[in-house]
Amino acid sequence: MKKAAGATDAAPKVVTTLSGIPVAPVYGPEHLTGFDSARDLGEPGAFPYTRGIHRTMYQGKLWTMRQFAGFATAEETNRRYLYLLEQGQTGLSVAFDLPTLMGFDSDHPASVGEVGKCGVAISSLEDMETLFRGIPLGDVSVSMTINSPAPVIWAMYLAVAEQQGVEWSRLNGTLQNDILKEYIAQKEYIFPPRPSMRLVTDVIEFATRHVPRFNPISISGYHIREAGSTAVQELAFTLRDGIEYVEWTLARGLAVDEFAPRLSFFFNAHNDFFEEIAKYRAARKMWAYIMRDRFGARNERSMKLRFHAQTAGCSLTWQQPYNNVVRTTLQALAAVLGGCQSLHTNSLDEAYALPSEHAVTLALRTQQVIAYESGVTAVPDPLGGSYYLEWLTQQMEARAQDYIRRIDEMGSMIAAIEQNYPQREIAQASYAYQRAVEAGERIVVGLNAFRSERDEPIEILQIDDSAARKQQERLAALRKRRSATRVAAALDAVRRAAEGRENTMPYLLDAVRAYATLGEICDALRDVFGTYQESSVL
């Protein structure tokens, strides 16, 4: 047998989870001293929801199969959406390109080389109309991964619903709108933290009053994990971010049970199978207690942590890409056993590029096999009661509590971010992991062990510069066609609203209806809020 690099026959060293939690050789009741079934576990569908938010879980309703997709222009992405819906996908998830995420139009100098590369380019309401052509927004739920410019993009979405004659009260979907994890991990921010938090709160407030079935935020650990954090850090920073959003919305004058049922979460599904399941269970339990005891929620729906999961992009390898199908399957299974409400499975080619149609179909089929063939959907929380899993769930909780306490002591997550605290913790964890891979202490199949001479070639989706050209032409035509005076007046109104204390959403809606572009609206906000530069820490 071929030996893994670094593996030896010497005395067994301490086994740890992927996050570095030391694991005993075997687990039994002695590891669960102090474990109280009523307090720690409960029944499925009952407080503290450790075992899941529904009594029947997937027998009642399967998770939503939601593949994150977007590339090139709205036209091309619209074709991909229609294809995915035809293949049995049950919800849409929009990936925007980097200029859109940063609030730049496709024809801005900073957009050169980036248009349509990492997602779809959306610069105006016109692009949004094209994106959802032939897709009834009253029937299909849509998730949008957008953060700093989230209120503007959401305004475009609401305007398209209006055009389709769909009442806002019927709209289902999710806006990511989680700016804190941008400062912590993904770094796609425009404005400084406080005005950004004001915009987040504007969206939550507006959704509560006018779009009640829409999730106005998806509090995300996914990107924190992708940036190299441990599972514990992912759990802790995400829940602490959630606390910060609740505090800001309460300060706006909303009652906790008015908006908390619509807060949603987004977690990573990484390699360590049991640790991931423990993470989801601990997250539900911790959130239930936080909402009940820290914020005095009375409505059960405020206490139920609903989450989307995505398999770990950072676990995929460029080497032996077909292995990625297997990794993704295991990660998806962990998310399902952990009780997710919706799931994205990565495609085998995503270490190279955005997925090809062939690869994304296989990724969707992976979910369908788990859902319809594996039998794991028969009962809620099938692993509940496992000594190891219950112990690990407690470990995740205790370690995450420590982090939350530390951040509470700093005063707020914004304060912690300004001190670079979560950023530094993550950078340390990611460096330690990379060192362990290099030393052969962590095995990555096909990378530092079990290597092949030659990898099977795979088909790669190519995005050429025609997307950028088409966008530039469309934008030029739009700017000529629309009423310049109406645009200027709408942008002035956005600026005044941003300077004041009113909710900005109605003004953003007027601006997008006038076909002011994303870049123009974000510039108006930049005029008032300024922009943010992090102090770079290594």
Partner: protein, 137 residues
């Protein structure tokens, strides 16, 4: 004692995924090099100016967004304009095989794709800088 190798690591373009660039910066520092990290969203002009001011021997560019064919040629052009052709430029990130040859033709010394080890990168920089320092040997 020998002067330590000075490296500027930079993250051009709009992408904020800085896990890789931070790991590389730490590894180079642990290997005894002097590392200057520019931070995010640097234009080619900002990068080349920083390289000039910091008097570095090496520039490392981390690009994951697919914008390398727009960004790297501009960096190389500016280096040439400023007479800094002797600076070693390396690129790391998601760079398809078919683009590697093109980048090398522009003068990029090496392209490190996903899965490249820190050791490989450190060794490449050391041997390239030493060679440049002693051309006759």
């Amino acid at each position: 004692m020998e002067r330590p190798i000075r490296v500027l690591v930079a993250k051009p373009g709009l992408d904020g995924h800085d896990r890789g660039v931070k790991v590389i910066a730490r590894a180079l520092r642990d290997a005894g090099m002097e590392v200057i990290y520019t931070g995010l969203r640097q234009t080619p002009e900002m990068i080349v100016n920083a390289a000039l001011q910091e008097d570095v021997q090496v520039i490392g560019l981390s690009i994951l967004s697919g914008a390398h064919n727009a960004i790297v040629p501009r960096v190389m052009e500016l280096l040439k304009e400023k007479g800094m052709d002797d600076v070693l430029v390396i690129v790391g990130g998601i760079i398809p095989d078919e683009d590697v040859a093109h980048l090398k033709k522009l003068g990029v010394a090496a392209v490190f794709q996903p899965g490249a080890s820190l050791e490989q990168i450190v060794n490449f920089i050391r041997s390239s800088v030493q060679q440049a320092a002693s051309p006759g040997l």
